[in-house]
Symmetry: C2
Subunit: 320 residues, 2 copies
């Protein structure tokens, strides 16, 4: 008997998922402790070793406002840039775009919000105005053949205004596509979303953007990230952001979890037979490296289970 | 346009879910620190206050093997037993059944495994033999009109033998139904399962047991519990185990997460508009009470986010 469950499990799910690893940028930018440039570089290279297809490497933003990213040019210049992987750098405006171009950046990210209240608080401008600002960045990026990614924050809820209308998500996505971005990353910035919202948001975007250009970015603040990713897969989405070891915390709830951990996402996808190209053991090594530098345990459940299991194997085979 | 995602979100999902709260038994039994009987009793009563429809209250097992549950009769006797809620007590054999009957227990749980290797290691008998042992317990329970629940461990993977054949899950479920149990709780004891397995297992059980008598029990060891619950809902399952604050840890991976946290499950279901009858604030109070007694933070992401949010509200409104 072909039940609804069975059909879901076997039909129509993407066979391959492209994970954008955001740990080095979105993750480290939200870490209170400063990280040495050399460690950032090593971390990026270990993530390349692990096989991440896309990496948010750093951010060319104001060193005054975001001191964690003051070494953007140095880090970008030094990291290994494997052919076939995309190394994204965030750029807020044309002035910073000049620096990114000087640094030889090949892929940029811009970021706005679905919620007007969040845009005002976080990037100190209106949503419309932010898209206007980016249009120059995007035009120049496309002129030199760059890949452009646009993040839409608070698409599932806003820390200031609460609920966010799906129509507002659609509106800003249309604007961003109109100025020429290649990929949309639609984000649950505060981790409030549940799968029904994923179905609603993706359904509303289905006629706006081809699904192969839509990425979803979930936070695991309330434990729902993997359920939301499952919902995204069932809608046909095959691009997801994730952060090694769940790096990044949650800026709106101190002590709470932020970005979904790449280990958890890869574990889920491996179990479902969906390819990511990421080696979980090498990813774990990258996460271990950075968590030792930060002096705290990663917020990844799969990481903790893998480490515990590796420790058991070691103690069971002392000769190896 | 009716997309597959949208159909899933709106059609066929259960409108109401029955959560069986396993914190006081499955949770506390796996805690290394001893808990005072009075605190266990208070915890159960707070969970009743929170509205849990079913509560695994304690376990009438050997005090020598499970000292944490040595006060089973005292705890069961003292907890408030609200009409309309089911207070389940675990019973491993007929000798312990005598004690449960003396204590006036009205609902019992028995437990075996889908994996032969796990049954041998954990309950020191074969799967078949364990069902034989339970047949006497179940017969006596049904004779006095008790509700009987049977847990099937390691249905999604075994720490000793690895993969577990779905046919083995079906086999033991058939045996348990044949001896007369009312509800089956099919468990991912080590938290290795992914949604595709949920679809497979539930599909295989669909013709064996009416879905309204099937409960799923997930561990969040690798972060997949809520994704698995979503898959279960999509298969039509409406009964899930969960543990307040994720109490219980993971006996096979020290430091790793065990039972999925009730707060996370209720948050997910609230978001999806699915009724549980559980008040998240009262549940949080119960979890806070027990976590203070245990001297550690709960392993619940929704709990952490709710606490952080409550702390912000308090500091923003000092007058209240």
């Amino acid at each position: 008997m072909a039940s609804p469950g069975k059909r879901l499990a076997t039909d129509g799910l993407p066979q391959r998922v492209t994970i954008c690893e955001v740990g080095p940028r979105d993750g480290l930018q939200n870490e209170p402790a400063p990280v040495a440039s050399a460690d950032k570089i090593r971390f990026c290279d270990m993530l390349s070793d692990a096989g991440v297809p896309m990496l948010e490497a750093t951010s060319f933003v104001s060193p005054k406002h975001v001191p964690q990213m003051a070494d953007a040019a140095e880090v970008y210049g030094a990291i290994r840039k494997d052919p076939g992987r995309t190394y994204v750098v965030l750029v807020p405006n044309e002035r910073r775009m000049d620096r990114a171009l000087e640094a030889g950046v090949r892929a940029v990210g811009v970021f706005t919000a679905a919620s007007e209240a969040f845009a005002q608080a976080n990037i100190r401008t209106s949503v419309d105005r932010s898209v206007e600002t980016f249009s120059g960045v995007v035009r120049r990026a496309k002129d030199v053949g760059m890949f452009v990614r646009a993040s839409v924050s608070t698409a599932f809820g806003c820390p200031f205004q609460g609920a966010v209308d799906v129509a507002d998500v659609v509106r800003v996505c249309r604007q961003l596509l109109a100025i020429g971005v290649d990929e949309l990353s639609v984000a649950d910035t505060i981790g409030v979303g549940t799968p029904n919202q994923v179905f609603d948001v993706v359904d509303a975007l289905r006629d706006v953007v081809p699904l192969e250009r839509l990425n979803l970015h979930f936070h695991d603040t309330r434990g729902t990230a993997l359920a939301n990713i499952l919902a995204g897969l069932q809608c046909g989405v095959s691009r997801f952001d994730a952060s090694a070891g769940g790096l990044g915390g949650c800026p709106f709830a101190p002590g709470a979890t932020g970005n979904v951990a790449t280990e958890d996402v890869v574990y889920l996808l491996n179990g479902m037979g969906i390819e990511t190209g990421i080696d979980l053991d090498e990813l774990r090594a990258a996460t271990r490296f950075m968590s030792e530098r930060l002096g705290r345990q990663p917020a990844s459940r799969a990481y903790a289970a893998l480490e515990a299991s590796a420790a058991r194997s070691r103690s069971a085979s002392p000769a190896r």
